[in-house]
Subunit: 410 residues, 2 copies
DNA sequence: TCGCTTATATTAAGTCTTTATATTAAAGCG
DNA sequence: CGCTTTAATATAAAGACTTAATATAAGCGA
């Protein structure tokens, strides 16, 4: 009975195979097609190894052989190299910006390119009706997702991951604190369970955190810089990236800005949009017969858009308000950057495009409070897209992690 | 000429050897002696592999065979197992707390146990003399280090790493900002070069950061909690640990608390010791003939120690001051914990032992400003040792990293 | 069309490292 | 002294990589 040896020892040396497969796949993830020779230089592995791994990854569905070997035109002599391409449509992901007033869902491929998008009103801005109850909100989100899928021409089975952004703190299991602030529960009524019925991987996260991820995706210039993204509409929220990684805590409270109540000249966590409207209304009530563009609106009807538009036309009151907003923003930057030594602070959200001047002014005012000449203060170029893009980015990241860590689980 | 094949292919499969050696060494680093069987359970590797690795690590000097195989007494029958022990004295490290008023150096083995310690006065507390010039400070530090080594009975060659803590921000290359604050340059006059003459690995870091490391070392109960350590003597400084890792930035500005100037009820980055003295002096000047223990000191001579001692005796003025200190601390905690969602905040430094009551009071007052019932606010038990212990911890960590990552470089 | 050149793909050793099994060694105990 | 127990060593087998040789797929020129 000692003649026959069991055939499969199954050593732990498959680990190295896993590591190398990871390296190859990360080299190709979201990139242009590559030849074995290019991958050899990128990874330091041998041609034989690279080709074996590429074959495996192709069988798993992550890569495919692209035919344009010679057309790519690096060289003209010799046997044309095989070119392996990242399969950006191996599966798709969905990112949802589930805001208070509207819900936007986008379908994207694994490069993060949107192939479908849909929006539904949720709690219309003007109305004084109570916010949607939990079931209705869940329904709205599912409807929006289905509409986005329909526009993309994809079925539920084509989707691998769903990420939902909500204006509330979200803990590491996807829930928001109950009881403390009823608004939070209404914004995130157990949304983490939404993906389950289609068997999708699902995550819920705070909107500001995801906006920060979107910026991280975009500004990959200096990979190790640190920044905060301030989401600044009606209320303030922040996401913080340190050395290329988004800070997270199990309770999900990072970037909550309630503590601004204690900061001189800020006094609240209300957003810049809120303050623009508030300051304008106050001034209009005080002097109803005001000259200039801003005087044409009544105190009740004035919005932040009016203020920014008027400021662009040179209205002195609007300019004064802009100046106050900039001072507020500068002080917020002092707190964030003074404590965390950030490289830059980005103001994002739907009103970001209007805040270019405010950010520049804030940068000037910063020096009054803090020596940090390196600090950039800018308005995000993503604007209203930031949160949704961040959700898509997280979804793609989750798929990539899964691909790298648990091989064939396609 | 094709018969003879080159002997050494040197594949990348040594990588797995490296990884496994790392696992084994981390399992044993600073721990009690282990048998192969124990390591098998800890690492999942086979006995043969474990023993090979242990033999290699022994040759490299990190482990040694300890003879008390059977005495350990887990079992009594069968062949006694080899027991490999971590060589805590493979080399030694030095940690220096280079404060403004005094310099303390300690020599420790690789478990972090101090085997020698020495202190030198630097800029005596009372004196109004200008601070030591750069060369003199470097000399003082080297003297202290030599004294500590002499007490430990060790030579320069026995030391592998030197870490120096200074009360100034320190960037990732060990330098402090020049020009901005002359005090910083005086505290850190290119100390990073001090280790070079003996060939030691050398690092310089901010004192509050290192105090945070010391706490991380101590409270390893819950490995993934997040906290801040506030070093609170004359000036405030903080070190921040998120999910078990110390936050760092290339410029070294994390935990600088200058932004507290903007916080209501805090208004400055002065430390709790400074405030205790300041408030007492103010009150004594206002009413020179004060009853109670605190009235026995003159306004000029009063120190924070007087205040804490008087409060312990029930002096009403001192209690009032304690209350104000607690409010200040609570507000600082609101800013830190509100933004970063910390699990606890520790107050450290030489006056920490006197701050137990202040911390408890601050915890009570916190609820006025922030809902965070999970937040612990406590005085560190390390007190004046915190910074030096943190320096030692960093030094040991650096040696461990070097051991794990570059094999035989002993 | 037939070689020749060039660049890549495939295949066949050879080595390293681990696992699995068998064998040997070192105790204690009756 | 033999038996039992537990650990260390030896040997064989398998996975994974590298090296080197060989095969393949072009283009180019005579």
């Amino acid at each position: 009975m000692s003649q026959t040896r069991p055939p499969a020892p199954a050593g732990s040396s498959q680990l190295i195979r896993q590591l190398n497969a990871q390296r190859v796949l990360s080299c190709m993830w979201g990139r242009e097609p590559s030849t074995a020779t290019e991958l050899m230089h990128a990874t330091g592995l041998t041609r034989a190894t690279i080709l074996t791994l590429c074959r495996e990854l192709t069988e798993q569905g992550w890569l495919e052989v692209s035919e344009n070997s010679r057309q790519a035109g690096q060289y003209t002599k010799g046997r044309p190299a095989l070119r392996y391409a990242f399969r950006e449509d191996a599966c798709h992901v969905i990112g949802v910006d589930a805001g208070l007033h509207q819900v936007t869902a986008a379908v994207a491929n694994l490069r993060g390119v949107e192939v479908g998008c849909a929006t539904r009103e949720s709690n219309p801005q003007g109305s004084d009706a109570p916010p949607q109850p939990a079931q209705e909100r869940r329904r709205t989100i599912l409807d929006t997702v289905d509409a986005a899928l329909a526009q993309a021409g994809l079925a539920h089975a084509d989707v691998a991951c769903l990420v939902i952004a909500v204006p509330a703190p979200v803990d590491s299991s996807g829930h928001s604190p109950k009881g403390l602030n009823p608004f939070w529960s209404l914004m995130n009524p157990e949304l983490i369970s939404l993906g389950a019925e289609h068997g999708w991987d699902c995550a819920v996260d705070n909107d500001a955190n995801l906006a920060a991820l979107a910026e991280l995706d975009l500004q990959s210039s200096s990979l190790h810089d640190s920044f905060a993204v301030i989401l600044s509409g009606e209320r303030l929220g922040a996401g913080i990236v340190m050395e290329g990684r988004l800070l997270h805590q199990p309770r999900g409270g990072i970037g909550e800005l309630g503590m601004l109540d204690l900061v001189h000249g800020v006094e609240s966590a209300n957003g810049l949009g809120w303050w623009a409207r508030h300051l304008a209304r106050e001034a209009l009530q005080k002097t109803p017969e005001l000259a200039g563009p801003l005087g044409e609106v009544t105190a009740e009807a004035v919005t932040s858009e009016h203020v920014f538009a008027a400021a662009a036309q040179g209205d002195p009151l609007a300019r004064e308000i802009i100046d106050q907003l900039a001072d507020r923003l500068a002080r917020i930057c002092v707190v964030l950057s003074g404590l965390l030594d950030l490289d830059r602070i980005l103001v994002s959200g739907a009103i970001a495009p209007a805040l270019t001047d405010v950010a520049a002014l804030a940068k000037q005012k910063l020096a009054q409070y803090l020596y940090a000449p390196w600090l950039q203060i800018e308005a995000s170029t993503l604007g209203a897209d930031a949160v949704r893009r961040g959700a898509l980015r997280l979804a793609v990241d989750r798929i990539q992690d899964r691909a790298l860590n648990s091989g064939p689980g396609h």
